[in-house]
Symmetry: C2
């Protein structure tokens, strides 16, 4: 049976940038059937489950293209350390204590946070416990792109073992959950994976038609060290070895990259996940998003883990992405409001090489959220696109549907038990401390 | 009768940076009587109104040291214009249409936003309708520092008239609302007030023991033009004319200032309101907050108006203030988490030259807020200071007290009618359009 939601303001994010002031959306168990201005006819209202949106704002679900949800319990660990000390003294020793319950609890918290703040689709790049997470996500109903990331600073045998594990996970789970779960391969970074290993991973990805995700050019030091060792920027090395072509790349961060690199990215149709808050907090710098957009690269947004952010609200991430470019370049009309909204929606879908999500268009999958317009910070209501980018918070989200199924209705979870998740998380934290 | 709130985590922001893991606060109709760790005795619970905080986080109310609440209805007006066009084509023509109802509605919306997001004390620098606003604030119960700002690009007679109006307002209303309302004088900016006029205003302020608030060094162009005209930076001109000494100055923005200027600021005990989001959005740049803090300047935070921000949530402002310094200077340990919290609380009180607010200390006025810790984005709960700076949202605020009086209890307004304010605002917007 179809569902019909009427009396909504609809921000479609379609190619014509259509905003429907008063309209309705009808969808079946997966995809959007009708999306129109005005009121539905009596006939359309028959044979469907009918919901009055009462003027809520309805828009595509947000897409988070880089993160590590398994690290949630490291939120707020020694935020004031310089980067290397923070990793060596705070993050890594803690990660070594993780067990399967730590991961489950951390990922449940992340899913609660994402649903509450409007993220319908997210990336998990991590080295631990991916199959269990995939099965959990299937139950919860979110859309996710998962990968077992690999670090290659080890013997050839170990490298091969890790790659085999990544491939086995990627090929077994892609398409799970009625297609909501997709997979990638993921060499961790150029400075943790020797070029030959990256080459083997890319070949495997090509054979299996899998995209590849990698951290790239996050810090200045990393680039300096790489230039010392290899005589060129890591992206240039990928180009020299012909690893960019014929491969669906998604690079995270891309802070220390310049015009010639954006030309390479554009030429090969590679994608970028911009993580502005993490890049600021870890002292990495400010990625040149305005230049990326000038090169027609559909920049998308990632939160990174909450150890370096420290929350998963993509509305705020959007705001940082737009405002940083204007401030750092001292130009008030650089990166438009609408481009901000695109980064968090349609561009996110493009970054994950998904063709039928990220916008509200007939035939696309029904992934969307609703926000309550009844807020002091949303006045005057007519400027709603501006408010979504410059004033909205995750907490304004009241409803979420993924593939036509409700996960969040009037701020109530339908597939998760928030109280139980918080209780289990607190108990686990106590147990670990005790 | 005193009020006692127990079973709270208390972030005092006192000089010892005390955080009480489980404690209580007792206050009378204005000030804090007791603040302690542990549970109150049976005797302490007698003769008081007793509230169980159920583990909520209790902290000083946030202080917004620069804003223009009367401009709320301009939120989201043509966000993508370059600064000068935006002012000339969007802001000023709209402001000329303002009537007393526009101002009332706009300021009511601002107060709703501030109470909902934890701001107990704010600045209004504006040229219209201050007396009516002062009377409204008295009823609502917030703490405010108000001033009729003046632009001096006019005849001497007009200048004198404006100054007289400012002085009359400042001297009549200071101390109103049981001392909650304070006043300042406010030359708009060095580029809109000739040096002689600023001098007359400063003299008047000295005579009446009033502080002086002014926009300073917001854009690069403004400084270039000023150097062309006067041969020096506007702060240097104030120093040359001996206008910094013996005056309580609060400068907003201070984006284009360097080491020698921070030395002058420090020498004369002047205060700074840092407005990171507005400075980014208008393409003004990034103020050198890390350098200001190294000069022991107690940097405070302002939102500026929602036409250039576009919301009044100081938690997010705090995050921008800390993260920007780390990212732009590429140093992860620059500006500590705790300094972020100080900027929004104790430093705000210092910026307004108020000695008994901004921290929770016995004898200080009872201005505080409570936040619900029961949030996925606040786990693990032990890192609460980190969460307040890097993860909290205004919407986590559940309660607000100003001078011992509740303005917001479990997310309900006690002195304002939110539904009515939103209704009146929407009606006014419709009327103006029609």
């Amino acid at each position: 049976m179809d569902t019909l939601i009427f009396n909504a303001k609809i921000i479609t994010m379609d190619n014509e940038e259509t905003v429907i002031d008063h309209g309705y959306i009808r969808f079946n168990h997966t995809e959007i059937v009708t999306i129109r201005s005005g009121d539905p006819s009596a006939q359309e209202k028959e044979a469907t489950s009918v919901i009055n949106a009462n003027g809520k704002w309805l828009m595509p679900g947000l897409v988070n293209t880089h993160g590590h949800p398994g690290m949630s319990l490291l939120r707020g660990i020694n935020d004031d350390q310089p980067l290397q000390d923070w990793l060596e003294q705070s993050i890594w020793p803690n990660e070594r204590q993780f067990d399967s319950q730590t991961l489950k609890v951390a990922r449940d918290i992340s899913m609660i946070e994402m649903i509450e703040s409007g993220t319908t689709s997210f990336v998990d790049m991590y080295h631990l416990g991916l199959p269990a997470f995939a099965e959990e996500i299937e139950k919860v109903g979110l859309r996710a792109t998962l990968m077992r990331s690999v670090i290659g600073l080890c013997s050839k045998e170990e490298q091969d073992e890790k790659l085999a594990e990544s491939l086995a996970f990627a090929t077994s789970y892609r398409g799970a959950g009625n297609g909501r779960i997709q997979t990638m391969l993921a060499p961790h970074a150029p400075y943790t994976c020797p070029p030959d290993y990256i080459e083997r991973i890319v070949e495997a990805a090509r054979n299996e038609h899998l995209p590849v995700h990698m951290h790239l050019a996050e810090t200045r030091k990393e680039i300096h060290d790489y230039m010392d060792q290899h005589g060129m920027h890591p992206l240039e090395l990928l180009e020299e070895r012909r690893l960019l072509e014929g491969t669906d790349w998604l690079f995270a961060h891309c802070v220390h990259m310049y015009e010639q690199h954006f030309e390479l990215i554009q030429k090969h149709g590679a994608m970028i996940s911009h993580n502005p808050m993490s890049n600021l907090k870890l002292g990495s710098g400010v990625a040149q998003v305005a230049s990326m957009l000038k090169h027609d690269i559909p920049v998308s947004l990632g939160t990174d883990s909450v150890a370096s952010n420290n929350h998963l609200d993509l509305f705020e991430q959007m705001r940082f992405a737009v405002l940083l470019q204007r401030g750092v370049n001292e130009q008030a009309d650089l990166v438009t409001t609408y481009e901000g909204l695109q980064m968090a929606t349609v561009n996110g879908a493009k970054a994950l090489f998904q063709k039928n999500v990220g916008a509200l268009v007939e035939g696309y999958e029904a992934d969307f959220i609703m926000l309550s317009p009844h807020q002091a910070h949303f006045l005057p209501e007519e400027n709603l696109v501006s408010h979504l980018v410059f004033s909205a918070k995750g907490t304004d989200v009241t409803d979420m549907y993924v593939q036509g199924k409700p996960l969040y209705e009037n701020k109530s979870f339908t597939t998760m038990d928030k109280e139980k998740v918080l209780f289990e998380a607190k108990r686990h934290i106590q147990t670990k401390k005790g």
